[in-house]
């Protein structure tokens, strides 16, 4: 007799380690890319804005699964001649893509910090760079937290797509269970509920961060 | 259906919001063709009273009849009855996505289910009655002045052939220079015999066309009578003070 699927729950749950590696890595890399991209798009020279626009357009307009295969089979091994494993490739691709989205979140946040803040900083004798790092960014980063929360929920669900490269995250393991037990409804429902729980749990954490750093009266305009 | 037939009867209306008693038993009648003005300081319950009549707000106690049909009876189809009660809001509340003409037509086509061409004709008549000329018919509310918006709103109520029109401070949200055009339309309608119940601070309007003023204070009708009497010769000290203040503020035309 085939084993029943719920005996594999611990096995599926262990996939959370990989899922959160993808999510954490993707968000962090996306942050590291998104913030400078947003600043380049707002304060940079025209040619830089054009280059960054193309980057954002490409990564926002192309499906994740196409990007994963393009980088895993094409860009890394063929074009660059480096062999990266599925997990590393997935984190990089999630990060590059999230960077495109996060840059838009930060750009909105930067735009909603009012012009008077910059003028006041310059009037105090700060350089443009000092004004950006000391005055504008601390406000914009706070304003962007809700957008970031949203990005977490998106990247969490998108991490499931990395099963296509065989990263042993939650969905890949769920599929193994389906294949070995011959049952599909239970395992897939379980996986679905797991993602819902992780979405809400993570959102809670982001809300706590938001409350902690929230400054009264500082909210994004038109966000 | 005589001239002095009672069309609206309001009996012992009470309304409480949380702990605050806004209306403490209000009773009055309006006869066909009459115009009655409700005046009183803010917080007296005037707007709540008006909304209790067409049940946009549900009174806690008391009854309302329109042409002998009890609106407060749960068995009454209130949507049917509301068609017969025009309501003009302080903030106009024109439908933002419809042109002036469409605003007036929509009640006719969707609620009264009149054919489009009939509805259009009626709407055009109503708009002309409130002096909204053809060049404005296809404008959206955002493209109209406050006075024009309120006149369109009056036309929207009027086109439904209501038994009575309730006006809830119709000129309070208007710039001072636009008040006149709205009051003129309301006076014309009153003279034509359109029955009206008007919450307003405009004593000029009251003196000109009202048959009676109901002065409300603290959730009750404190004093009532012919406009001249209530305004110039009130029985109560509060009434006197109120109208003196109003005259000072508005210059009492």
């Amino acid at each position: 007799m085939d084993p029943v699927w719920w005996e594999y729950i611990p096995y599926i749950l262990q996939g959370a380690i990989w899922t959160f590696t993808l999510v954490g890595g993707g968000l962090a890399l996306g942050f590291a890319i998104g913030v400078p991209v947003a600043m380049g798009q707002k304060y940079g020279p025209t040619w830089l804005k054009a280059v960054l626009d193309v980057y954002v357009w490409f990564f926002r307009g192309t499906p994740l699964v196409v990007l994963l295969f393009l980088f895993y089979w094409g860009i890394f091994p063929v074009l660059l001649g480096i062999k990266l494993d599925a997990l590393t490739t997935s984190v990089i691709v999630l990060g590059l893509r999230s960077g495109a989205y996060q840059s838009q979140i930060f750009r909105g946040a930067l735009n909603s910090v009012d012009e008077g803040q910059m003028l006041a900083a310059r009037a105090l004798g700060m350089s443009k760079w000092q004004a950006i790092t000391n005055i504008i960014l601390p406000q914009a980063l706070r304003i962007a937290i809700p957008g970031w929360t949203n990005e977490y929920a998106i990247i969490l669900k998108d991490s499931a797509i990395c099963f296509t490269l065989g990263v042993v995250e939650i969905l890949t393991r769920t599929r193994y269970v389906v294949i070995s037990t011959g049952e599909a409804l239970g395992p897939f429902l379980f996986a679905g509920v797991l993602y819902i729980i992780f979405t809400y749990g993570g959102t809670k954490v982001f809300n706590i961060i938001y409350e902690k750093y929230h400054i009264p009266g500082l909210v994004g305009k038109g966000m | 259906m005589g001239e002095d037939e009672v069309v609206l009867r309001v009996e012992n209306i009470h309304k409480k919001y949380k702990d605050q008693e806004v209306l403490k038993g209000v009773t009055f009648e309006v006869r066909r063709g009459e115009t009655k003005v409700i005046a009183g300081p803010s917080g007296a319950g005037k707007s709540t009273l008006l909304r209790c009549i067409n049940l946009l707000t549900k009174p806690d106690k008391g009854r309302v009849w329109l042409e002998g049909v009890e609106l407060t009876n749960p068995k009454t189809n209130i949507n049917k009855m509301r068609q017969k009660i025009g309501f003009v809001f302080q903030e106009f509340n024109l439908f933002h996505h419809l042109t002036a003409l469409e605003n007036v037509m929509i009640g006719l086509t969707k609620v009264k289910k009149l054919p489009k061409d009939v509805a259009r004709k009626k709407a055009e008549e109503a708009l002309l009655t409130v002096h909204i000329t053809e060049d404005l018919w296809n404008k959206y509310p955002a493209q109209l002045s406050g006075g024009q918006k309120q006149r369109v709103a009056i036309a929207r109520a009027l086109a439904m052939d209501p038994v009575i029109i309730l006006y809830d401070e119709p000129t309070s949200a208007l710039d001072p220079q636009l008040v006149g055009e709205v009051l003129r339309v309301m006076e014309e309608l009153a003279r034509k015999g359109v029955t009206g119940l008007v919450v307003t601070h405009e004593i000029g309007f009251a003196l000109e066309v009202a048959d009676e003023i109901l002065f409300m204070y603290g959730g009750k009708i404190l004093e009532r009578g012919p406009p001249r009497e209530v305004v110039f010769n009130p029985k109560h000290e509060v009434t006197k003070k109120f109208f003196e203040n109003i005259k000072r503020l508005y210059g009492g035309r």
């Binding site: 490409f58 192309t62 499906p63 295969f69 094409g74 819902i196 | 809001f89 509340n93």
Partner: protein, 220 residues
Amino acid sequence: MGFWEEFIPLVLHGAVNTLWVLVISIPASVALAIALGSARVYGNAALKAVATAFVVTFRGFPLVVTLFLLFFGLADLGIYLTPYQTATLAFVLCGGSYMSEYVRGAIRSIDIGQSLAARALGMTKFQELIYIILPQAIRRALPGISNEIIYQIKYSSLAFVVGYEEIFAVSKTFISRYFMPLQVFMVDAALYLAMTTAAAYGLRALEYKLRIPGLEMSIR
């Protein structure tokens, strides 16, 4: 035959299949979103609860999981959907749920005066919703809905997981014949970029066409 001569007709065939799903799933998603969004604001307690549970579920499940559930999970119950049916249904459930959040937000953003004026004219709750609230709310929700439509175009590439022969599915099979992944997946990317960019312009034009002075589309 060479690589390009074989690949181009194949991938265009995949593109037609992609569009064939989207042509049904996008309008159906919008319709579902309007129904769900309306139910969550205007429905009675039971309807609100059902609609909310529905949205929480299909926004919370990754789309791939929904696809697997509909294709393999329902089969456990004796319900067999074709790949085409599975993909279309999954996109509608997921897209409709996401879009419904914009509809709901837009309905709630309409000022109360609109509702009061509708009721004062004698409209029923349903008439008020259909003739007064939704025409305004849908316009306000349109930018958000447009974003979700663009997402749906991209995520349609996931239909390959249930064996539907769309752009990505044919490409994936093709590289086992000609191992030219760079070219193949760049062509895919180009096709999706063309579709998403065209959709973005088309939807912007639609927003412009439907705009009404004073009814600014504020939620994005």
